[in-house]
């Protein structure tokens, strides 16, 4: 896969179709991979990486890159392609300036899960198809089944379909039936008190590093309301539980109907707060109340929050359908 992608990237860069390539390169560790823009063949030859740890959603970078002179080649995974198409829908990216190669994806691995399994001193993790080969500083080498170490969002993958691309590498997948709302349902089944406790426990860990916001492809505001002194709700570090709640409720609300459920927020959260559950709660509600809707799936359908029908459910539905009292 990596070689095919590399070859194609070099071709497109050399024949002048694109000016730059948006992909991934290795960060501090082999399993810590970071998005990268390559502008020359040398850079690609040197650093281009694609493996089970290329989890970052690249679509958001295209907001800026697609405004640059010349085309950008972007490798988009199914998740990224939904985000990209949603950004197109909001006129945030210039489609004509992006050459998209869709890449088939069968899930990304979660390095934290490997660490949590008790392997210490990881030096390198190699992606061997279905297997992950972990080398440690104790010069041990362990072979792991990749499927046992998939990220949560990949275990509940909603779609393996790249929805927008100029060409594909690998076979494009299908929209899947996922169990992604199971956890939301589990929380709904708690009592109101328990839910409150649950979220207090989660959100109180928030250090307001803004990683969730900065990585989110739906959060592409020129200036976030929380950074804008004139908005009246500008706020840096949360001073108390109210402000923790406030930030995450408003953030989830602002991306409601626009969130493609790519799961980046939870992936990057250094405090491991399951932020995607807030987004999924909105998605689940919108699906139930207003019909199935998947942000980024197409360019035409109106997002639920800027749409209505005359016989929509009343807000009192929460009393019947909400979580346990």
């Amino acid at each position: 896969m990596q070689e095919m992608m590399k070859k194609r990237a070099l071709q497109l860069l050399q024949d002048g179709t694109v000016e730059r390539v948006l992909a991934w390169k290795t960060g501090e560790f082999s399993y810590d991979i970071t998005p990268a823009v390559f502008e020359s063949a040398e850079e690609i030859e040197k650093d281009f990486v694609y493996d089970a740890f290329c989890a970052a959603n690249l679509s958001k970078y295209l907001v800026a890159l697609s405004k640059k002179e010349g085309k950008t080649l972007a490798f988009l995974k199914p998740c990224d392609s939904y985000s990209f198409q949603q950004l197109m829908k909001e006129h945030r990216v210039d489609r004509d300036n992006v050459y998209i190669i869709g890449i088939a994806c069968d899930g990304k691995a979660d390095a934290d899960k490997i660490k949590d399994s008790g392997i210490k001193g990881i030096k390198n993790i190699a992606d061997n198809g279905d297997k992950l080969v972990v080398e440690t500083i104790y010069s041990e080498s362990t072979e792991l089944d990749k499927k046992d170490f998939l990220a949560e969002r990949c275990l509940n993958c909603k779609s393996r379909k790249v929805v927008i691309y100029d060409e594909m590498i690998g076979e494009n997948g299908e929209v899947l039936d996922s169990n992604r709302f199971d956890m939301v349902e589990k929380i709904e089944a708690m009592t109101s008190e328990e839910r409150f406790e649950f979220w207090q426990n989660e959100l109180s860990r928030c250090i307001r590093c803004n990683a969730c916001r900065n990585v989110c492809p739906a959060c592409t505001c020129e200036k976030c309301v929380f950074d804008n002194d004139a908005s009246g709700i500008a706020n840096k570090a949360a001073a108390n539980s109210f402000e923790e709640n406030m930030f995450h409720i408003i953030r989830a609300f602002h991306v409601a109907g626009r969130c493609t459920d790519c799961g980046e927020c939870s992936r990057v959260c250094p405090q491991h707060i399951p932020l995607h559950l807030l987004n999924r709660k909105f998605i689940k509600d919108m699906n139930e109340f207003y019909g199935e809707y998947q942000a980024g799936e197409d360019l035409e359908t109106r997002p639920p929050l800027v749409n209505f029908t005359m016989d929509d459910v009343e807000p009192s539905i929460v009393n019947e359908k909400g979580g346990k009292e």
């Binding site: 939301v184 929380i187 709904e188 109101s192 008190e193 328990e194 839910r195 409150f196 406790e197 649950f198 979220w199 207090q200 309301v225 709700i233 001073a239 108390n240 109210f242 402000e243 709640n245 406030m246 409720i249 408003i250 989830a252 609300f253 409601a256 807030l278 709660k281 909105f282 509600d285 919108m286 109340f289 207003y290 639920p304 929050l305 800027v306 749409n307 209505f308 029908t309 005359m310 929509d312 459910v313 009343e314 807000p315 009192s316 539905i317 929460v318 009393n319 359908k321 909400g322 979580g323 009292e325």
Partner: protein
């Protein structure tokens, strides 16, 4: 030592659209229909003007309940405003419920300009609900407490 038990006087913010519900509240007044003074009304042009931010802000600053009143669906002065408000509030309330905030603290009611009695009755009911729920503890900001 005896601790004096203070009677709980809730703070309730009612957002009312200018065309229907605010006029309905006026009618309740004209007809001298009583409801608790705990309810304070804020006039907005349309229910769709109410940003979820305002509701959270009210809780932060010490409100114990927030109610939004607008024209009946289909009667909006701006034709479609309350339809959007309905969706926004449905989702917001569901989210607050999901986060474990007592669901009785928020409410939407459609009150027309002719429904003075309904306005008063709604407010009476709502205040009763809030009193039974007690003080807003889960969404409070202690810095803003008296």
């Amino acid at each position: 030592m005896q601790i004096e038990k203070k009677e709980f006087k809730p703070t309730i913010v009612a957002f009312c659209c200018n065309w229907c519900s605010y006029a309905g509240a006026d009618l309740a007044g004209t007809n001298r229909l009583n409801y608790p003074a705990d309810v304070k009304i804020i006039r907005v042009p349309c229910s769709c003007r109410v940003n979820p931010m305002f509701i959270l802000r009210a809780f932060q600053r010490g409100a114990d309940g927030v109610i939004l009143c607008g024209c009946h669906p289909g009667d909006c002065h701006y034709t479609t405003g309350n339809y959007y408000a309905r969706r926004r509030m449905t989702l917001l309330f569901s989210m607050l419920d999901f986060l474990g905030i007592e669901r009785g603290r928020t409410r939407v009611e459609w009150v027309s300009a002719a429904e003075g009695a309904k306005f008063a009755q709604t407010m009476n009911e709502f205040v009763e609900t809030i009193i039974s729920l007690g003080e807003n503890k889960r969404l409070e900001d202690l810095r803003c407490k008296k």
